[in-house]
């Protein structure tokens, strides 16, 4: 167990280092420096700025300084609005993004498990077809199409939810659902097939042979085993939700990291791009690590460490 955690941890660090270095190399392969396009600065100011951002030093030194800053969780200063550090931006935006993401993930996982379960129990009957049609729509309609549609109908025409903005819970409902749609579809499908697989297992027959009523068989035997595969995709789902939040935050004007990130991409604010990328990458890689560990705990058959055998 410990050996396994250690190994996963080393891989996690390697991935983090890789993404950090990749970001660094890419950002420094842009011809000139981040201030080249800014014509408004006088020469002296420019020199000062370069000094402040360590751009006057040789590249290897810059690289080491950069890694050192990362190790102390210092993500640097925005180039376009030098009064703000990337850390501040993340502190501002992350709570909002996190709320959006967690709500979306909660909707996707809970509703997905429920829908997939219902579909499997009513295999090849009406509820199954309804769930599968919903799932197919969820997979086929991107959230940047869904978002505007929600705004137009749920927001503007039927006035059920506020069109955009952020602050109270009502405003978070539409973006959360829009963001949850794709992962919801994926969970539903996975849960359905996993549940079908479990329902055909011999141990379900054993449970029925004990005389347990269907609800008990379902809750104590089928569900737990069917959920295991769903746990494994929570990592990838979070990635999807996170990248999805870029467009959702843009569409619904939510002051989250995604919006800052998209803005920094549009106006080429390189230090913010770098900082947010590293932050998100770190977050996701860490989440994957946790999910891997959780998987080992849920399924007693998996002896962590001999995982290659899977």
């Amino acid at each position: 167990m410990l050996r396994y955690i250690g190994k996963r941890f080393v891989i996690m660090l390697a991935t983090l280092w890789l993404i950090a270095s990749l970001t660094f190399v890419l950002m420094h392969s842009i011809p000139g420096d981040p201030f080249t396009s800014e014509k408004k600065f006088p020469k002296a100011t420019l020199e000062n700025l370069k000094k402040e951002y360590n751009l006057d030093k040789p590249i290897p030194v810059q690289y080491l300084l950069y890694l050192k800053n990362l190790a102390t969780f210092d993500l640097g200063i925005s180039i376009k609005t030098p009064t703000r550090t990337v850390n501040e931006m993340i502190e501002d935006g992350f709570p909002n993004s996190a709320q959006l993401g967690v709500q979306a993930l909660a909707i996707a996982v809970s509703a997905g498990i429920l829908m997939g379960m219902v579909a499997a129990i009513y295999q090849s009957r009406m509820p199954d077809y309804i769930m599968m049609v919903l799932a197919v729509i969820g997979i086929s309609v991107p959230n940047f199409v869904l978002g505007p549609l929600f705004q137009k109908y749920l927001g503007l025409e039927w006035e059920i939810f506020p069109i955009a903005g952020w602050g109270d819970f009502e405003q978070s409902v539409m973006p959360s659902i829009a963001l949850a749609f794709l992962p919801l579809a994926l969970v539903t499908r996975l849960m359905r097939s996993s549940m079908l697989d479990v329902l055909g297992q011999d141990y379900i027959r054993t449970a029925r042979a004990k005389g347990l009523p269907p609800f008990r068989v379902l809750s104590r035997h089928s569900l737990r085993n069917a959920i295991i595969p769903v746990v494994t995709i929570i990592g990838p789902l979070s990635i999807g939700i996170l990248t999805g939040s870029f467009v959702i935050e843009k569409i619904f004007s939510i002051p989250g990291i995604g919006k800052y990130f998209v803005e920094s991409v549009t106006n080429r604010d390189y230090s913010v791009i770098m900082g947010v990328t590293i932050f998100y990458a770190g977050l996701l890689i860490f989440m994957n690590f946790l999910v891997d560990l959780a998987y080992g705990l849920i399924d007693p058959r998996i002896k962590l460490g001999s995982k290659e055998a899977r």
Binding site: G211, L212, R216, N225, P300, R301
Partner: protein, 341 residues
């Protein structure tokens, strides 16, 4: 002796893409209190389907019980509501399955799987159920049951898992235990142990047992009565001695011939039955064994023979029993092969 279970004219079909499979076609059987009945037959003969019908465990669709009665303590199980069935399954009739590797829930401790039925049927508290689970594990011969009760199935060996399955099935003291090929998936040495254990438990608990198997060696060892199934029908039934020494059906003779024996010379030791079982999508209207039977007559292909009483305990359905049929050397094991395989 009191009859505890009686199956009358049971028909079970399976609906598939290719059509309807007539898996069980009019089975009649009875089981007396405390006795061990073996149902013997090759795969596809309908023996497992018959057993699962008793528990009403067949998935529907595709399975459908077309007609018949299964009388348990005088009540027709097939007429009970699903709710009444919960009271019978596990409590009155227990069942163990072929593959102990897949029949236990991998994510639940063995103890909990035993306790579940106890808590549901006998409304035991957690501690009581646990105590009983440990007792059951001890009863089925699992060493250090206090420790084992908290382990997961993957920590058990194949033989131990089957013991655990038996513990689950017997936890609520059922009147009948149905064992569906309980030893097929196990090593030969373990097989003997499990059978020994079941025999021992039968004496201790006076549970009636229906043992489903294709292994005649197991039958001789274990059962008091035997029913031989073929093509969805019971072709011969009788006491163990009736079947082993005075069998009247050519299929039973064939089964005996394909059983390994040490007392015969090498070349006679094992004689397979040529051909393959009938297509149950479109079952023959006559005797299902006629195609493979060395003594088959015209009538065998045309009409299903009636059940004939050989003795009070011994019934057979074969046209050879008909007074007009030519006599075949009775009780002599006829070499059924026409060519060496």
């Amino acid at each position: 002796m009191k009859t505890i279970l009686e199956i009358k004219d049971l028909h079970v079909n399976f609906k598939t893409y290719a059509g309807e499979v007539h898996a069980v076609r009019g089975v009649n059987l009875y089981l007396n209190k405390g006795e061990a009945l073996a149902i013997v037959g090759e795969s596809g003969s309908g023996k497992s389907v018959t057993a699962q019908s008793i528990m009403r465990l067949l998935p529907s669709p595709p399975a459908e019980i077309k007609q018949g009665e299964i009388l348990f303590d005088g009540k027709d199980i097939l007429k009970l509501s699903e709710k009444e069935m919960f009271q019978i399954r596990g409590s009155e009739i227990g069942m163990i399955f072929q593959d102990p590797m897949t029949s236990l829930n991998p994510t639940m401790t063995v103890g909990k799987q035993i306790m579940e039925g106890l808590k549901w049927h006998q409304k035991l508290s957690n501690t009581e159920a646990r105590q009983r689970a440990i007792e059951m594990l001890r009863l089925v011969g699992i060493p250090t049951p206090e420790k084992r009760v908290n382990q997961y199935p993957h920590e058990f060996s194949g033989g131990m898992r089957q013991r655990a399955m038996i513990a689950i099935a017997l936890a609520c003291n059922p009147k009948i235990l149905i064992a569906d090929e309980p030893t097929t998936a196990l090593d030969v040495t373990i097989q003997a142990q499990i059978l020994e254990l079941m025999k021992e438990l039968q004496h201790k608990t006076e549970t009636a047992i229906i043992l489903i198997t294709h292994d005649l060696g197991v039958v001789a060892e274990f059962a008091q009565r035997v029913a031989v199934m073929y093509g969805g029908k019971v072709v011969e039934t009788g006491k163990v001695d009736d079947i082993f020494y005075r069998s009247r059906h050519p299929y039973t003779w064939g089964l005996m011939g394909s059983m390994p024996r040490l007392d015969l010379k090498q070349e006679d030791a094992l004689t397979p039955i040529p051909g393959s079982p009938p297509d149950l999508f479109d079952p023959p209207k006559g005797c299902p064994f006629a195609d493979r039977c060395p003594h088959a007559m015209h009538i065998c292909h045309e009409e299903m023979p009636e059940v004939m009483n050989v003795s009070d305990s011994h019934q057979v359905s074969c046209w050879l029993e008909h007074p007009q049929a030519p006599s075949v050397h009775e009780g002599v094991r006829v070499n059924l092969t026409t060519k060496t395989v």
